[in-house]
Symmetry: C2
Subunit: 255 residues, 2 copies
Amino acid sequence: MKPSINITADNTIKCDACSLNQICIPNKLTDMEVEELETSIDKSIKLKKKQFVFRSNEEANGVYAVKSGAVKTSVTNKNGLEQVVEFHLPGDLLGFDAFDTGKHKCNATALEDTLLCRISLEEFDDLCDRMPGMRKVMFHQVGKEITHSQNLLLSLGQQQTDERFAAFLLKVAAHYQSRGFSSKEFVLPMLRQDLSNYLGMAVETLSRIITRMSDDGILETNRRMITIKDISALEKIAHASCAPDIVPPPATNII
Amino acid sequence: MKPSINITADNTIKCDACSLNQICIPNKLTDMEVEELETSIDKSIKLKKKQFVFRSNEEANGVYAVKSGAVKTSVTNKNGLEQVVEFHLPGDLLGFDAFDTGKHKCNATALEDTLLCRISLEEFDDLCDRMPGMRKVMFHQVGKEITHSQNLLLSLGQQQTDERFAAFLLKVAAHYQSRGFSSKEFVLPMLRQDLSNYLGMAVETLSRIITRMSDDGILETNRRMITIKDISALEKIAHASCAPDIVPPPATNII
DNA sequence: CGGGAAATTGATGACTTTCAAGGTGTGTGG
DNA sequence: CCACACACCTTGAAAGTCATCAATTTCCCG
């Protein structure tokens, strides 16, 4: 485990000049609101690989945005077993797991050297009170996290290992595409260990899946760089678990 | 699939007379707030087994509280595969999956004949604006759902089938105990099918686990009635997945 | 450049699913 | 009120998937 350092970096880039402003908090705010937000942000959080952003049961210090690098969030049971809950890439927010109790429910760890922006909880609360756009940010984020958890549950509960990995790749590809990057060629910033944990399988299983898909010409890998060669094959694998006799249930609601 | 009926029942019980008022919304409100809440509740929702409370992608009609019976919520993928997300017992709330977009993300189905109370979204929004207690209810509920999803993820990703079932039983037992009922003897209102789906295993696997635990004297079952005979054995099974060489990570935080 | 962590590969076997059949209970209609 | 049908649950046998263990290779960092 790396030592804890909280370096203060230079702090010159304003939100409206930040390359992430369309996918970060500002995209839901007016120019005036951004101006005000600006004064409340600590843009100097610098983390080295394996350092914690925050830890479970800890009093929350604020809400974070990933500027560069990557962060994983995970929960741990009393036996020390870890389950990775989400990977946070540039533009993603984290820290909302504490917004009801004030204490974090999961651990957040830097996967590589990472830059973060932070708003303190008090200021975030205050901004939520005064800015409708900020409440939108919060609702949107919490809804996103709930949806994410449900999808992951569906994946872990119902899909085979290769289906899960294919679906994961497609999700990451869509993520990068929506941010203007290549959806065919990208870096997976996490260890195989973390990814296999997230996908609910052994490292060896993940490794074998990747090898098999490479052999089949579906993708190419060079360490953490992934190149998708046959996206339709990937889609076919991701949706393989199709029960033939499923019919959509009729709409019998109470209202 | 049962037909859709929306019967209006008699509506005489006030919240402060309801046996669930300590575990339902009123427990976070002042007497005056309850008085006001009272006027906004439709207490007449009556569902038959297998009817939907609401369905995925549907415009949300409100927030619900289970008065009697039981409801399951589940998500479905494009292949029609279902994953049960949660079982809602008397006193539990549901409908918060729509609170950011206004549209539900999951299906909610009555597991047996069920009575519900409902507040419309508009009135809920309005009450949240005016009553601090109501915001507390919302935050608490959303936090609860996030925590629940994370725990279920941890369970599906890291535990063996019998560990998952044991942990589930202990959770239900704790739930009933906290509501003043027996923690040793209770009814599981859901089908084996739904429970096995929730726990991420085949029905047959669940059935075999139950049989084995009965043979081992850990529990007795009569259809849906469960009697826990040896709770410590159950706890031992639930926590079995203890890796011997896990040490708690040192506290290296950024703040 | 060397040590160690991370990733891959292979062999084996446990756990779980699947398929199939039988049993049990519930509810509905006569 | 009874009987029958159907849905639900249980049990058994066989097959597959995936985890585990162990060894090797690759790559990263100091």
